[in-house]
Amino acid sequence: MEFNHISLKFPRYGDFLIILLILVITVSFFLTGYGKATSKTLCIYYDQEEICSRPLPFSDTLYLKGAEGNMIVGVKGDTVEVLESSCPRKYCQEMGPIYRPREMIVCVPNKIIIIVKGNPSGKKLDGITR
């Protein structure tokens, strides 16, 4: 397949088509399930197994054992942050605090995923009467 007759002059309208397509995918993905979350839950997974599920806000320091070593997660109110991790690159530490629904910290070497899940307001019942 020869690519050498592709235009070097930019932008052309096909470029905008590609950007538009990517933005449509992004926005449609954003809109699904991005209702107004009334309450949030902190979920932590280790190797596909849920090891923690606690409704936010609370304040605590969690000591986790990952595949590579130990990991310290600090929860202050409704913000969650990895304080210390034993993984080689420390991406999870550099991510900083997370608090919005659907935000997450993934530590691949430790096989730990920390997700703030939002509970959509529509699905939560205020009360049940009989």
Binding site: M1, F3, D15, L17, I25, F29, F30, V106, I113
Partner: protein, 182 residues
């Protein structure tokens, strides 16, 4: 005079092999050096090594680009001690989806797009391929797809920048394209 591949189908094109070798080495070095550049967002990488892929794709076509980026990933993984690790699998799947998707986009919108547009499509598909492998094979958590919006915004920025830079490099390298013998 430019020798086309039809004219010397039986001959080995040594010039092309030499140039591809140089570009593989360049790509590997850029890929390794990029690890040391501080990043504004920890999980976002510009992917400057893909400049090499874009130049090769423009000049030598799809097959050479596939060879160069495959060899770059294998060499880079060997040198950094990540051969056959999950990281390498993620890189390979991103490369595979990006190149095949770019070929498809080029096939569909051949006369309507420019090189930066193709680069943006490639960057998006690269991120999508990496996310697919990470969420379905390695971490096996579909929740990882919540990251897709961040990845697609990042791919528009990095793909656009890489595309525009590769246009400048192509203009510099192949200014007299009809005269070079490669």
């Amino acid at each position: 005079m430019r020798i086309s591949s039809e004219q010397n189908a039986n001959l080995i094109n040594y010039n092309k092999i030499a140039v591809l070798g140089i570009f593989i080495a360049l790509g590997t070095v850029i890929w390794i050096l990029e690890e040391f550049i501080p990043r504004p967002i920890p999980w976002m990488k510009m992917g400057f090594a893909n400049l090499i892929t874009m130049v090769i794709l423009y000049r030598f076509g799809f097959r050479s680009a596939a060879i160069v980026s495959f060899m770059r990933i294998i060499l880079g993984a060997t040198l950094t001690g990540k051969l056959l690790s999950p990281t390498m699998l993620i890189s390979l799947s991103g490369m595979f989806l990006a190149l095949s998707g770019m070929a498809l986009v080029f096939f569909l919108l051949e006369n309507q797009i420019s090189l930066p547009g193709l680069s943006i499509a490639g960057a998006f598909l690269h991120n999508l391929g990496q996310l697919l492998t990470a969420s379905l094979v390695i971490i096996r958590k579909p929740e990882l797809f919540y990251l897709l919006p961040y990845f697609s915004i990042a791919s528009i920025l990095s793909g656009g920048l890489i595309g525009i830079l590769s246009v400048f490099i192509i203009r510099l390298l192949f200014r007299d394209m009809d005269n070079d013998p490669v």
